[in-house]
């Protein structure tokens, strides 16, 4: 173990701990997930072919989707901050800032993920949506991604962050 504490994993979906999450809220997250799975499928962003087309710069489609998704999210966040909206549980909405550190973890980790993104043609969300789509061999890719996660956890103390 290292002397100085490693930055907390502050990426995808770890913020906002709930000690006792209410079942009604879990149902909301389930339904939102279902909606997201449908959108991933009908937008075709889960398709290996679409990912190839994007990396070959032969269609505007994926860039249009990612660009308009970021723009929509950015405007939404700005609006939420501007009117100081509260979440359904009555707490003020806070988005924790990511810690930069040396930046190496973002550059190196991002590049490694990018290699896998092009090879599998799927990022983690689409990986699971593809299993739902009937590409059942993606179960193996998901288990392999869990193995990769475990390897990261094992090597983490020795990696530059």
């Amino acid at each position: 173990m290292t002397d100085k504490p490693l930055p907390d994993f502050d990426g995808c979906g770890t913020s906002g701990a709930d000690e006792n999450i209410r079942p009604a809220f879990l149902l909301v997250y389930l339904l939102l997930g279902v909606a997201f799975g449908v959108v991933l499928t009908r937008s075709e962003v889960l398709s290996w072919f679409r990912i190839q087309e994007m990396f070959y710069f032969q269609s505007f489609r994926m860039y249009g989707i990612i660009g308009s998704a970021v723009a929509t999210a950015a405007v939404s966040i700005a609006l939420i901050k501007a009117v100081a909206l509260k979440s359904a549980d009555g707490k003020p909405i806070v988005i924790p800032r990511k810690t930069l550190g040396s930046g190496i973890s973002y550059a190196a980790g991002g590049t490694i993920f990018g290699l896998g993104w092009a090879l599998t043609g799927a990022c983690p969300g689409p990986l699971f949506a593809l299993i739902g789509n009937g590409v059942t061999v993606m179960i193996v890719a998901a288990v392999s991604a869990l193995a990769g996660t475990w390897v990261y956890g094992w090597l983490r103390p020795n990696l530059p962050h």
Partner: protein
């Protein structure tokens, strides 16, 4: 319903819809939209380990996200079942490039030459599925996020770390597309 509903949704419908998951999750319970944290939660829940990275209360931190992920799986099933099946309508230039690399079946969401149980036993299928999956898992955890957490949530909140990560995503993706995939698919 309009006809596009049963085919691929246009980018200007799909993109904003994806973006709306960010405010939806913030409003539902102060949750930051992201998927790859689930890989960590699953490891923490399923694989008993003394590793520090997996020593946390996955239920309070990640149960909501695991439930969301279960929904994604169900949504993937539902989404693929309305309307008649159709081939992904990619650009003719990409079809030509992939033909050149040895991909000829364009009937599914992913090429049958690489992503079937039978293909798993071939070297190119193994590299695409197993090696690719391993890199996705390791890379997302090292980078602290994936396309959802960094490219969507992070960029929308003007996070510099996310911008660095997204540059990395494309650097890796382009390298694999131009230098690794043609070799993996075409020559093995």
């Amino acid at each position: 319903m309009t006809s596009w509903f049963y085919r691929e949704w246009p980018w200007y419908v799909a993109g904003p819809l994806i973006g709306l998951f960010v405010p939806a999750l913030l409003l539902a319970g102060n949750k930051v939209f992201g998927i790859s944290g689930n890989l960590r939660h699953l490891c923490s829940a399923v694989l008993p380990s003394r590793l520090e990275f997996f020593q946390y209360d996955w239920k309070s931190k990640g149960l909501w996200n695991l439930v969301f992920l279960a929904g994604v799986l169900i949504g993937g099933f539902l989404g693929s079942h309305f309307g008649a099946p159709y081939a992904i309508n990619i650009s003719p230039a990409t079809v030509a490039a992939l033909n050149h690399s040895g991909i000829h079946d364009f009937s599914g969401v992913a090429p049958h030459e690489l992503f079937t149980w039978h293909a798993l036993l071939t070297l190119r299928g193994f590299i695409s599925i197993v090696v690719g999956g391993l890199l996705v898992g390791f890379g997302t955890q090292y980078a602290g996020g994936c396309t959802s957490g960094h490219a969507i949530s992070g960029l929308a909140n003007f996070e510099l770390p996310s911008l660095i990560a997204v540059f990395g995503f494309f650097a890796g993706g382009l390298a694999a597309t131009y230098f690794i995939l043609p070799f993996v698919i075409g020559r093995i």
